[in-house]
């Protein structure tokens, strides 16, 4: 039987990889994918706690996170497409219109 700590360590590792991806990549779509990896790692921690503590609420929260992630993907990718139409670029280094 795999103990709870192994699932949580896997979740922490995936979360770290997601943060690294957000910080070092410059392509907005890859940054987007890193955010999805981080959401997945949090879901994994929720389900692991839910199963080991015998409380179904964790899996309900994961259900809500799925819905929010789907909404986030739709709106975020629409923003990327709109930005690309405006500037012909999806590099985050080009997104500095608010720079003072």
């Amino acid at each position: 039987m795999v103990p709870l700590i192994d699932y949580l360590i896997l979740s922490a590792v995936l979360f770290t990889i997601g943060i690294i991806g957000i910080l070092i990549r410059r392509n907005i779509i890859t940054i987007f994918m890193s955010i999805e990896i981080m959401l997945n790692s949090v879901n994994l921690a929720f389900v692991a706690f839910s199963r080991f503590l015998g409380n179904m609420d964790g899996q309900i929260v994961v259900f809500f996170i799925f819905a929010v992630a789907a909404a986030e993907a739709a709106v975020g990718l629409a923003l990327v497409v709109a930005w690309f139409k405006l500037k012909e670029s999806i590099q985050v280094d080009d997104m500095k219109l608010l720079k003072g």
Partner: protein
């Protein structure tokens, strides 16, 4: 179950690293699909079949298709040359590892985490969906309805943002 967990966990970590490391967005997208499928397998080893099915339908069905579709629409097959200095990337990696180390330390020093080595018999493989439905449609009924409003708002805003400016 133990072997399945370690194989799937290795696969998930490997594909997540490849998502971050690969040059081409389309390759990252396909590795992300592999990562989502292995996480769905890990949900099966946790005996949470409903969440695993939702993961396969919502993430590897809908979100991956959306991401791959946008990559093909934008036609960005290779990332441009890096314009950031090397030390910024190195510092960012170190900062990310420090944050992740904080999460890891929180987990391994928690007494609650260390005292649970066996899965609870409540809400296992048998009757998982029924128990979830009991909780979802009683205590979480209002949030469940609000989620549908959120999805409608997301659909409308996605259409509105990406439509042609007149």
């Amino acid at each position: 179950m133990v072997i399945a967990f370690y194989v799937l966990g290795f696969l998930a970590i490997f594909s997540a690293i490849m998502v971050v490391a690969s040059e081409r967005p389309i390759v990252s997208g396909l590795y992300l699909l592999l990562c989502f499928i292995s996480v769905a397998g890990i949900y099966i080893t946790l005996s949470a079949p409903f969440v695993a099915a939702m993961q396969l339908i919502v993430y590897s069905g809908a979100i991956i298709v959306l991401i791959l579709f946008v990559i093909m629409l934008l036609n960005q097959h290779r990332e441009k040359e890096s314009r950031r200095p090397k030390w910024v990337t190195a510092l960012s990696t170190v900062a990310a590892i420090v944050i992740g180390w904080g999460v890891y330390l929180t987990f391994i020093t928690s007494k609650v985490v260390l005292s649970h080595t066996k899965m609870s018999p409540v809400g296992g493989m048998k009757g998982n969906v029924e128990q979830l439905a009991d909780v979802l449609f009683s205590r979480y009924f209002i949030p469940f309805e609000v989620i549908s409003v959120l999805l409608i708002a997301a659909i409308i805003s996605a259409v509105f943002i990406s439509k042609k400016r007149v």
